[in-house]
């Protein structure tokens, strides 16, 4: 049994970490999230050159890695730098391209030339219920999509969009060009940095990915990879929050002594540290199960999302509380880590949804 990343993967991690530390420090991040696009294409291109995007995909799909631990290791560095950009979307959409033999498009994604995103979340209306469900129809000269998707990450400016839609047969996945007819986007910044948008398609031409009605298995596979990636990203953020909070407990003085001398704070910190180790184990478990049978894979992915959801909330809230007032400020990077960690809880289903899914999967297996 070996819990180290291994030499090659460690080299990748080191180079990604160095690149992000050099080019995407806190002030660079501030500039990026305040820009009109909400992220830095220069950073993205630099990472693509380092082979980071290729690390998400296997060699037979044109990538340079693709093992669950490659994905996890890269997302760990993304978390450590709270880098903004379409990492998750690229992983998930790219995985669909790889699974459906779209090697030409995937090559463009891996090189960084082509920006891609993944549109699966239903659009919500003002009254809190889904509106404009995405549907697809084929009329002899190809598929046309109409409907909406909500909170699509980094959709503005994406050259390719993988969209889920209902056909007469069932859930299917389609590839839509960002400049195709009928595409309209209302984009906005996100509370934790980065950007997303509401995507509306009106009779938009699209290409079917895989087989008609068999999109759910592709979505499930992409989701499992996405959950694994988010788990590793979240644990890395927890590590940063832990280190910063420990440092603060050691140096901040009140009543004439470091506040870390107070037992009430010590025990809370010890609990956070313990929970982070459990979260790390959950992330490892998810990665170890990613290439296994779907029910095993999905149970481990849901267990991990449940764990990082609960531990993430605890870690973010305690980091802010133990910092006191300064933890509330925009100026301190800590608050941005806490926001990102909390918002990871809102991606691909929260801890309640994944606890329910875990129960259903385990009951089905029993």
């Amino acid at each position: 049994m070996d819990f180290s990343l291994g030499e090659d993967r460690q080299m990748l991690v080191d180079s990604v970490g160095r690149y992000l530390a050099d080019t995407f420090d806190f002030s660079a991040r501030e500039k990026a999230i305040a820009s009109s696009e909400g992220w830095s294409r220069a950073m993205w291109n630099g990472l693509a050159e380092l082979g980071v995007i290729g690390a998400f995909f296997r060699e037979d799909a044109g990538g340079y890695g693709g093992s669950p631990f490659d994905i996890g290791a890269v997302f760990g560095e993304v978390g450590r730098a709270i880098a903004v950009g379409p990492f998750l979307e690229t992983l998930m959409a790219g995985r669909v391209l790889a699974a459906t033999g779209r090697s030409e498009e995937l090559a463009g994604v891996i090189s960084g030339e082509t920006r891609i995103t993944f549109a699966d979340t239903p659009m919500m209306g003002a009254n809190g219920s889904p509106v404009a469900p995405m549907h697809a129809a084929s009329n002899g000269d190809g598929w046309k999509l109409s409907g909406g998707k909500g909170v699509v990450g980094y959709v503005a400016g994406a050259e390719l969009i993988v969209v889920s839609a209902q056909t007469d047969t069932g859930t299917s996945l389609f590839l839509v060009r960002g400049d195709a007819a009928g595409v309209s986007i209302r984009d906005y910044p996100l509370v934790d940095g980065g950007a997303a948008g509401e995507l509306t398609l009106a009779d938009t031409p699209a290409e079917l990915l895989g087989s008609d009605g068999e999109g759910q298995a592709l979505i499930d596979d992409a989701t499992a990879a996405g959950l694994t990636a988010l788990s590793w990203e979240a644990v890395a953020i927890m590590d940063v929050l832990r280190a910063q909070t420990i440092e603060y407990l050691r140096t901040r003085k009140q009543f004439g002594i470091p506040i870390g001398k107070f037992q009430a704070l010590q025990h809370r910190m010890a609990t956070v540290a313990l929970e982070i180790e459990q979260a790390r184990s959950a992330a490892i478990n998810a990665a170890a199960a990613l290439d296994k049978a779907p029910n095993v894979r999905d149970a481990a992915a849901s267990a991990a999302k449940y764990t990082i959801g609960t531990v993430g909330k605890l870690t973010a809230e305690e980091a802010i509380q133990l910092h006191g007032g300064i933890g509330m400020t925009w100026e301190l990077p800590l608050s941005h880590y806490a926001k990102r960690l909390t918002m990871i809880g809102h991606l691909l289903g929260d801890e309640d949804e994944h606890l329910s899914r875990y129960i259903a999967l385990r009951q089905a297996a029993a």
């Binding site: 819990f3 010890a270 540290a273 490892i284 606890l355 875990y358 029993a366």
Partner: protein, 398 residues
């Protein structure tokens, strides 16, 4: 990253399973599974079976009768014996005293005591806690005063687990009141048959006699029974506490308990459906199961690091806290699963050979008592609050 066990480890697991299948008496595993009380002879019987195979003192050095197993092999062994509902190995002589003797004892002490621990001649108990020295163990007051070739011991020990069976007790005693309180403690081996020793039972909240008070009145102990040097006992005691933490998480016991809970939840009907399908109960179960799955990997990570020579500190405390919380949560769920039938307290049903009229589900008799008994897990072995202090010390370095 490689989370698979090696071929050798898998083969070893099979070897352990085959051994348990062949050698673990069903009478003993039934008692453990059904939560019945083990008698002294039951524990001795199991010890003898393990000893015949050479696996009783599996963590000792080979020269003293150990196995030379890796930490991973030891973890596999612990997991399999727990899952098979084997009686636990009584730790006092084998896991607590022996490592101290092996590291700090004299050659004579090792040659005399270790074989007797192995073959069951001596049953040991632990004389650490006192009425005024619990978490603050170093404030202990039981006194040993030198008188020629003897110490004269006066004082009281408490929470002495299974002391009623013991032939010997290893004690922390105060031999000096000078300097720091940790620097006046010695480690003494005392024959329980010595005049002046009185053992009084403490009845616990589950009604059982598991722990005792031990009183010492002018008890003469030969100086030859001192382990290591006088006033260095605290060092040995700490070594004892940090040694052998491979099973601190109790993963095997939790796996066995969860499997039992799953079975019970599947067959027990509540409000017209199986308890396992009750949404709130299912959620409670799933949360514990996920925590346990995470804990298994955390435990393996610590073991892998220990195997590579990294001595765990904060990690051991984390495993102790979460491991005991999980075990307690599982007894809590078993108690809930029994519903009204957690209440009947038919004490005779806890003894082997009970053939009275059963009441309610056949698994329900001990669940409330187990739940109450397992409250001890977060109190003993360094309370979970003391463990948080250890974690804090290690990560905050203040």
């Amino acid at each position: 990253m490689d989370l698979e066990f090696t071929e050798e480890e898998k083969a070893f697991r099979e070897e352990v399973r085959a051994f348990l299948k062949e050698k673990l008496p069903a009478r003993l595993s039934d008692k453990v599974r059904n939560g019945q009380n083990l008698r002294k002879e039951d524990m001795e019987e199991w010890h003898a079976i393990l000893n015949a195979r050479g696996w009783l003192a599996n963590h000792w050095p080979v020269e003293w009768g150990g196995t030379g197993w890796t930490v991973m092999q030891r973890a596999i062994f612990e997991e399999e014996v727990s899952k098979a509902h084997a009686p636990r190995i009584v730790p006092f002589g084998l896991s607590m005293l022996a490592p101290v003797l092996i590291k700090y004892g004299s050659e004579e002490q090792k040659k005399h005591y270790l074989p007797r621990i192995l073959d069951g001649t001596d049953w040991w108990c632990q004389g650490y806690s006192e009425p005024g020295a619990g978490s603050d163990l170093a404030s202990l007051k039981t006194q040993a005063v030198r008188d020629g070739d003897d110490y004269i011991v006066n004082g009281q020990k408490t929470w002495t687990t299974l002391g009623q069976y013991a032939d010997w007790i290893f004690c922390l005693v105060r031999t000096s009141n000078e300097g720091k309180k940790q620097e006046g403690i010695s480690f003494l081996l005392i024959d329980m048959k010595t005049p002046g020793i009185e053992v009084r039972p403490i009845k616990l909240l589950d009604g059982d006699h598991e722990v005792n008070e031990v009183f010492f009145t002018d008890v003469r102990v030969p100086v030859a029974n001192l382990v290591g040097e006088e006033n260095k006992g605290w060092t040995y005691a700490k070594y004892l506490l940090t040694y052998e933490r491979t099973n601190i998480a109790g993963v095997g016991a939790s796996i066995a308990a969860f499997e039992q809970l799953q079975q019970v939840a599947k067959t027990t009907m509540r409000n017209g459906g199986p308890l396992a399908e009750d949404p709130l109960f299912a959620a409670r179960m799933a949360k514990v199961e996920i925590d346990l799955e995470n804990m298994k990997t955390t435990n393996l990570r610590v073991l892998a690091a220990a195997g590579a020579g990294h001595a765990p500190t904060a990690e051991s405390s984390m495993l102790k806290i979460r491991g005991t919380e999980i075990r307690q949560a599982l007894t809590d769920l078993m108690r809930r699963a029994a519903g009204s039938y957690a209440q009947p307290w038919i004490h005779a049903a806890f003894e082997e050979g009970f053939n009275g009229e059963p009441v309610g589900p056949d698994w329900a008799a001990p669940v409330a008592s187990d739940y109450f008994n397992m409250r001890k897990l977060s109190i003993f072995g360094g309370s979970n609050e003391v463990q948080r202090e250890i974690i804090t010390k290690s990560i905050l370095e203040l």
